[in-house]
């Protein structure tokens, strides 16, 4: 078991890294891994990998949940709650303040220029993260076809994504991928 200072150290560290996780929480995962597995030895490499895989595959705020599983390992339920707050609290404050600021200048000419420059880059990144996900998920040609099919249907129709996800789950469940 760990000493009484462990939950505090974990919470403080998570609050710090969540405040600097530019580009999303996954960018600081290597650091969190070093902190909990390397520096403190609160869990094994295998534990960390399992927690990551599960956080990716359950619905909900998955990085917050992943850090809650880490907190759970260190200090049970209170650790899970403290880790969740440390993960979403600081960024939410920053989001709120920056949205207020952004909105105040919404009609300023400089903001329209920023928007014209910013949005295409970000959308390129969104497509890239879809492709990175596809690379990890598409281990066979039928799975590649499924990814392409889902993208095509989503672009061409307004069919609810839920039907496509259910179809994907069924195809996978019957071992067709």
């Amino acid at each position: 078991m760990t000493g009484p200072s462990a939950p505090l150290a974990l919470t403080a560290h998570l609050a710090l890294v969540s405040s600097i996780s530019f580009g999303g929480f996954p960018t600081v995962l290597p650091d969190v891994h070093n902190f909990v597995v390397g520096t403190h030895g609160w869990m094994t490499d295998q534990d960390f990998a399992n927690i990551f895989a599960i956080a990716q595959s359950i619905p909900g705020p998955n990085m917050i949940l992943m850090m809650s599983f880490v907190g759970w390992k260190v200090w049970g339920f209170p650790g899970a709650v403290a880790s969740a707050f440390a993960t979403f609290g600081p960024p939410c404050t920053i989001y709120f303040a920056s949205y207020r600021l952004w909105n105040r200048f919404r009609d300023a000419p400089w903001q329209q220029i920023v928007r014209l420059g910013l949005v295409p880059v970000i959308m390129g990144l969104v497509v890239a993260s879809g492709t990175v996900m596809a690379r990890a998920a598409d281990t066979s040609w039928p799975a590649v076809a499924l990814t392409i099919g889902a993208a095509a249907i989503a672009l061409a129709t307004r069919l609810s994504p839920m039907w496509m996800l259910l179809a994907g789950a069924a195809l996978g469940g019957f071992g067709l991928l």
């Binding site: 809650s68 989001y95 949005v119 497509v127 672009l155």
Partner: protein, 192 residues
């Protein structure tokens, strides 16, 4: 009544409960992390018509540039836009509270049964579909910019540097965005 006043009245009228349930749905449907943006767009833009595609693209871009789990940022911004501080609290609570409790329970259960093949296959099928949906959402939000060659160039560069050159997200963000904004500024100055 002017269009703006009408719109403001509409924004006033969005109940807090609607913000809560909308982001509860975004959270619960968003399997596999990044696909949360797919559902946030589906619900806030297509179903509830709270914001336009353009505003949604703005919010996503703003959130991507800030630290943190950026789907939560979408809840923060849409909540703030519709109802101010209290709207943010409603949207973020909807996004987090119930899904967190369910997710924690399901996750601790999964940790016990992570080895089952059927479970893995189902998750694999979901992940492959979610990847396609995410690609489609990015392309759709890029559509308003399709007539600007510079926009397409920077979108393709961002995509390629991550996918093929495997640069870090941070490097791509801070390397490309200032350039892209500078080019947009020059275009704007020339158009004058």
């Amino acid at each position: 009544m002017t269009g703006l006043a009408q719109r403001q009245e509409l924004e006033q009228a969005v109940p807090l409960a609607a913000l809560f349930t909308a982001f509860l749905a975004v959270s619960l449907y968003g399997v596999g992390g990044a696909s949360g943006i797919v559902w946030a767009r589906r619900i806030a833009v297509e179903k509830r018509r709270w914001i336009s595609d353009r505003e949604f693209a703005d919010i996503v871009s703003l959130c991507q540039f800030m630290p943190g789990p950026n789907i939560v940022g979408i809840a923060v911004c849409v909540g703030a836009k519709m109802r101010g501080t209290i709207g943010t609290i409603a949207a973020v609570s909807g996004f987090l509270v119930i899904p967190w409790i369910i997710g924690l329970a399901v996750g601790l259960f999964f940790l016990e049964y992570a080895h089952l093949t059927v479970l893995r296959n189902i998750l694999g099928g979901i992940a492959a579909t979610a990847a396609g949906l995410l690609i489609a959402t990015g392309l759709r939000l890029l559509l308003p910019h399709r007539r600007r060659p510079a926009a397409l160039l920077f979108a393709v560069l961002a995509f390629g540097l991550i996918t093929f050159a495997k640069l870090s997200l941070l490097a791509v963000l801070f390397g490309l965005v200032p350039l892209s904004i500078a080019v947009a500024g020059i275009e704007r100055a020339r158009a004058r």
